[in-house]
């Protein structure tokens, strides 16, 4: 065997399936996204903090949360980056075209930051504190990609 030869062991076309439960909170979140273009958060009855995405427990209060509240859809950039290295997209297994913008967005009425893409049409406008709004997918399927990305608005 040549010194640098590598042995390749493949499992052919076999997949390793895994089915994640989105839970009742996720179910409501994705339904509202798909059917009504609404972004839902959930409010802690003790501290009043509004979480998005919604989930059952407020960590600091260890309190069950049941009150859904609509947030956004607009907000401001809490922090951002511009990805410039070729990243293998876990969705496709192929390299994602660069550059693209990434933001953590403080949606109106929410107390946590919401992760999504940010459009880079005008890179200079992508700044912490910039106001953004979502651009919806034409065909919504009840996934996080029902929002294509957020874009900076004047």
């Amino acid at each position: 065997m040549a010194e640098n030869e590598h042995i390749v062991i493949e499992s052919g076309e076999a997949a390793q399936p895994f089915n994640y439960a989105v839970g009742m909170y996720g179910s409501r979140f994705f339904k509202e996204l798909r059917e009504n273009k609404k972004i839902m958060g959930v409010k802690c009855p003790t501290c009043g903090k509004v979480y998005v995405p919604p989930r059952g427990v407020c960590g600091p209060c260890f309190q069950e949360m049941k009150e859904f509240v609509e947030v956004g859809p607009g907000g401001v950039i809490g922090t951002y980056t511009i990805l410039r290295f070729a990243f293998i997209d876990p969705e496709t297994g192929h390299q994602k075209p660069v550059p693209y913008g990434y933001g953590f967005i403080k949606l109106d009425g929410a107390d946590t930051l919401f992760q999504h893409y940010i459009d880079l049409v005008d890179e200079k406008k992508v700044r912490i504190g910039a106001r953004v709004e979502p651009v919806w997918a034409n065909e919504r399927k009840g996934t996080i990609k029902d929002i294509q990305y957020f874009r900076v608005v004047e």
Binding site: Y20, V22, G26, Y51, V52, P53, R55, G59, G78, T79, Y80, T81, I82, L83, R84, F85, F87, I88, D89, P90, E91, K96, Y102, G103, F104, T112, L113, F114, Q115, H116, Y117, I128, T143, I144, K145
Partner: protein, 381 residues
């Protein structure tokens, strides 16, 4: 806390890629080095903790594959998934429980065997976040933006961390990536994810580290010079990335405060002689120093520029070269502990700091400093 000490350390040289090593080969080498360092044989080890991550190792129950090589055959062995500092905390707890006089702790990783962005992407929530493709580099870039925006820390100050640590790594035979750089070299290197240039990012490396922890009785029985554990604490922040204030390290502040209190330290900036921190990215060294109270909030960049964190400075930080000098994920925090031990024993050679009576080692687990583990080690019992 009852007294316990670190009585042996073993580090493999951190390398970009070692095709001639399996995980077990690395663990075997680090374990034998630690035993030799302590003047012990495997029969002197009462129990073993291995530290690994199944995704990085490409198999489930990854800890089992290194058991024999870590000397765990016929012993009580347990494992921790996370950074080596957390594995060591478990090892310390087992030692202090009274059930075991000595504990061997190993941590290993081979970044060369996988696509790191796919693995770190899988740390995100699979329902809301993972499909958007963010990985550790992107996550830390977001944190760096938030930190710089809040504190006014500059890109030049970040670059200066890279210059210092890559320069220090030249002096450390265990480090992978020693380089003589200028601030402009760093700023001219490829922009990976704003504001992080390529030279602001640590490599993803291969390496294994082992340490041996002993209780007070057993610490005196072997030839090794004990380095005493004065305080240890960990704290975790919220799971969802967007729940956190990314510009601060709240969980680190809490962990450090507790560790200082255990060690009887009330003025850390004057009582800690040197530190080895988890600088996976340049900005993190500054942010963690501020989070621990070793620098004022937003003041670390200026102290760095004044030379405070140089090997000859007031508070040498990452004299070993840190993670920027070589980053075996999972093992990185345990390397920090071993490097602090080396300094306190006065065995750090070309990168020995002048005053090394009390040192701090720090490890991180999770995305962009989600959880932190802080160790205070000392020469004096």
């Amino acid at each position: 806390m009852d007294k316990a000490a670190i009585i042996g350390i073993g580090m493999t040289k951190i390398e970009a890629r070692r095709d001639d090593w399996t995980f077990a080969d690395m663990a075997f080498e680090a374990t034998r080095k630690a035993l030799e360092d302590a003047g012990m044989t495997i029969g002197d080890i009462d129990n073993v903790i291995t530290t690994s991550n199944d995704f990085w190792d490409g198999r489930t129950i990854s800890c089992m594959a290194v058991g024999d090589a870590s000397g765990a055959s016929d012993k009580n062995v347990s494992c921790v998934e996370g950074d080596g500092t957390f594995g060591a905390l478990y090892g310390l707890a087992r030692t202090l429980s009274g059930s075991y006089g000595t504990t061997l702790v190993t941590a290993h990783s081979k970044g060369s065997q996988s696509v790191s962005s796919l693995i770190t992407n899988a740390a995100f929530d699979p329902i809301y976040n993972r499909a958007l493709g963010l990985d550790m580099i992107g996550a830390c870039a977001l944190q760096a933006s938030a930190y710089m925006h809040r504190t006014g820390t500059t890109a030049r100050q970040l670059a200066q961390v890279s210059v210092k640590n890559h320069g220090n790594a030249l002096k450390n035979p265990v480090a992978q990536l020693g380089m003589k750089l200028s601030v402009d070299d760093v700023l001219k290197s490829e922009m990976i994810a704003d504001p992080l240039h390529k030279l602001d990012c640590s490599p993803v490396s291969d390496g294994c580290c082992a340490i041996i922890i002993a209780n007070e009785d057993r610490a005196k029985k072997y030839k090794g010079k004990p380095v005493w554990i004065k305080g240890v604490s960990m704290c975790a922040d919220a799971y969802f990335f967007g729940d956190r204030d990314l510009s601060t390290a709240a969980s680190l502040s809490k962990a450090a405060k507790q560790a200082f209190a255990q060690a009887g330290i009330n003025d850390p900036s004057s009582q800690i002689d040197f530190a080895e921190l988890y600088d996976a990215f340049s900005y993190q060294e500054l942010m963690w120093l501020e989070g621990m109270g070793l620098a004022g909030d937003g003041a670390a960049g200026k102290m760095l520029e004044e030379g405070a964190f140089d090997i000859g400075g007031k508070l040498p930080v990452n004299a070993s070269g840190g993670l920027l000098g070589g980053h075996a994920v999972i093992a990185a925090g345990l390397y920090r502990i071993a490097e602090v031990v080396r300094q306190i024993r006065g065995e750090a050679g070309a990168y020995q700091v002048k005053k090394a009576r009390t040192g701090l080692a720090h490890g991180v687990n999770g995305l962009a400093g989600q959880s932190h583990c802080v160790w205070i080690l000392g020469k004096d019992k």
